[in-house]
Amino acid sequence: MTREQAYERVNKVFRDIFDDESIIVIDTTTADNIEDWDSLEHINLIVALEEEFGMKFTMGEVIGMYNVGEAVDIITARATR
């Protein structure tokens, strides 16, 4: 899976979770850039990404994921494995 392909799907998950069709995520997008992405929504986002890509994140990855780039890194690394 290329990063572009991963991004397309990650973007779809973000729009779906935060109910906002105008969201466009990039590597440096963090919780500060998206209004509703707070600690209460973090896990919902993670689980939605897991479902979308059919993979599981470890708890270490979950609490260490500070921006979208890190999430995409993990997703692409795991998809090529």
Partner: protein, 513 residues
């Protein structure tokens, strides 16, 4: 040894001297020896042995986790972590909160057999146990999750978990974030040293000049009731509650200023525990700015794991049953309930803390989330400008009042005593503000106004803190102004601080948790 006592500063000065005259490689060992001495002075060897046992458990456990990691034995790896964490929690609960279970067990067993009585264990928890135990749990968990490398040297792990400055009231630190700072020797840096000293001074001012005066008013109001000497009513109850919340703030944040200030003198930057909390516009924000490191700990090691496990297991079923939004919310609220219960319980094993420091916030925050649509419709209907300065002020006051109400129960003897007290708040007596009654709460006129002045000073400093580091701002001023300020603060602490012969500063409130 209290950290506002003369001997503590002799101790710190000695450790600083030895630290900076020891070769870099051995400087961490000086901190370890200092921490050992501090433990001994505060509880003796038996209690220190408990700390060592708990640290060795986490140390051995993490090495085993690594071993199973390399042999890809996930089952044993997880099991090891589980055992370590369970034993650490069991030790904390047994030593600190056993009476909670015994009281409640007694209530239940007496329903069946009125004469039954389980007696209390009466064990004393070692210094800082609530702090080091949670830090050892976070260390073990992070090794399990692959976030931290395990520490091969048990002595180094003992320094991480038992660094003496953190044993009084925290802050909680993450092993992988702080360890390098603890183990590498720091070069003496004059600017860092001065900044640390200034912060230490500010902390002493908060504790000795303000918190100790507030403590007298709080004691008069709350303990007068306990001893049956007088029954505070109306305005006294409100004054008592606000005096207590400001005491708690100046006491705890003052303690943090001392701890972080002294750490900075060693060249170590511990994480902040406060960020001007009374500027928060809602309670969730308040808890992100008050006792920050406890909140972060609970989020990472309690709320997220519970929420993730619940979502993975029941997410789909909940969505089917309650719909897309509500399915998600039900799970979120369940994990928040567990977390707030944890926060309450950590403060002390009694229903008073569980309700006032935990469940109260759960109800308020979840209530706020549930009523959010109603509120936003109401503000639109009434055409309230929520961006306006006056609205922000209102929101801050509302948040501060709710927090004050909740912590006042923590100061009362029990939940029912707190309720009894608040039930008398409507017996109006606003004239106490003008008839001199305020000067009969234990502080004379001068002391009373000194306390008000101190609080006003904190307010002014907080305004500047909103914009950045106050010490940076001061450092940019000219020499005379700076020294007048430092000396003024120093003299204020010496002259107006409540300490010395015949006066025993109250223990730090958070040291008791």
């Amino acid at each position: 040894m209290s950290i506002v006592s003369f001997w503590f500063f002799v101790f710190v000065a000695t450790v600083l001297l030895v630290y900076y005259s020891t070769p870099f490689r051995a400087r961490w060992f000086v901190l370890l020896i200092a921490s050992t001495v501090f433990f001994y002075l505060n509880g003796g060897w038996t209690l220190y042995a408990m700390f060592i046992a708990q640290t060795l458990l986490a140390w051995g456990g993490s090495l085993l986790i690594n071993k199973y990691e390399s042999s890809k034995n996930d089952k044993l790896k997880n099991r090891t972590a589980l055992v370590v964490i369970a034993v650490e929690i069991a030790a904390l609960v047994l030593m600190k909160e056993s009476s909670f279970f015994i009281i409640n067990a007694n209530i239940i067993t007496r329903l069946i057999n009125p004469s039954s009585n389980i007696s209390y264990l009466g064990w004393i928890a070692p210094l800082g146990m609530s702090y080091y135990t949670l830090m050892l749990i976070s260390y073990t968990t992070n090794v399990l999750w692959g976030k931290a490398e395990s520490q091969k040297n048990p002595l180094k792990l003992m320094l991480y978990a038992g660094f003496f400055l953190q044993m009084v009231s925290g802050p909680f630190t993450c092993y992988e974030k702080i360890s390098a700072q603890l183990y590498e020797g720091h070069k003496f840096n004059l600017r860092e040293f001065q900044f640390g000293l200034q912060r230490l001074l500010w902390g002493l001012f908060k504790k000795l000049v303000i918190a100790e005066r507030l403590a007298i008013i709080v004691t008069t109001i709350y303990d007068g009731e306990l001893e049956g000497t007088w029954t505070p009513t109306g305005t006294y109850i409100i004054i008592g509650a606000f005096a207590y919340v400001f005491q708690l703030y100046t006491d705890f944040s003052g303690c943090m200023d001392i701890v972080l200030g002294v750490a900075q003198m060693f060249g170590i930057k511990l994480p902040e525990n406060f960020r001007t909390p009374f500027y928060s516009t809602n309670l969730s924000e308040f808890w992100r700015r008050w006792h920050i490191t406890l909140g972060l700990w609970l989020k990472d090691y309690m709320m997220y794991p519970v929420q993730k496990a619940l979502t993975t297991k029941f997410g789909k079923a909940a969505k089917k049953k309650f719909g897309r939004v509500w399915g998600k919310n039900v799970i979120l609220y369940a994990s928040m309930l567990a977390t707030w219960f944890g926060i309450g319980f950590w403060h002390g094993g009694s229903w008073k803390y569980i309700c006032a420091s935990g469940l109260f916030f759960f109800v308020m925050i979840v209530g706020g989330l549930l009523l959010e649509p109603v509120f936003s419709r109401l503000t639109k209907l009434l055409r309230i400008d929520t961006e306006a300065w006056s609205w922000t002020l209102f929101a801050r006051l509302r948040t501060a009042c709710l927090f004050t109400l909740s912590v006042s129960f923590g100061r009362a003897l029990s939940l029912s005593d707190g309720l009894k007290m608040w039930s008398r708040v409507f017996e109006l007596n606003p004239w106490i503000f003008v008839d001199g009654s305020l000067y009969r709460l234990g502080l004379d006129r001068l002391d009373f106004w000194m306390m008000i002045f101190g609080l006003a000073l904190i307010y002014i400093i907080s305004q500047y803190q909103q914009k950045g580091s106050v010490r940076e701002i001061v450092a940019r001023q000219n020499l005379v102004f700076r020294w007048v300020l430092y000396l003024g603060l120093f003299i204020a602490v010496l002259l107006f601080g409540m300490y010395g012969e015949g006066y025993n500063p109250a223990d730090f409130i958070y040291g008791g948790f």
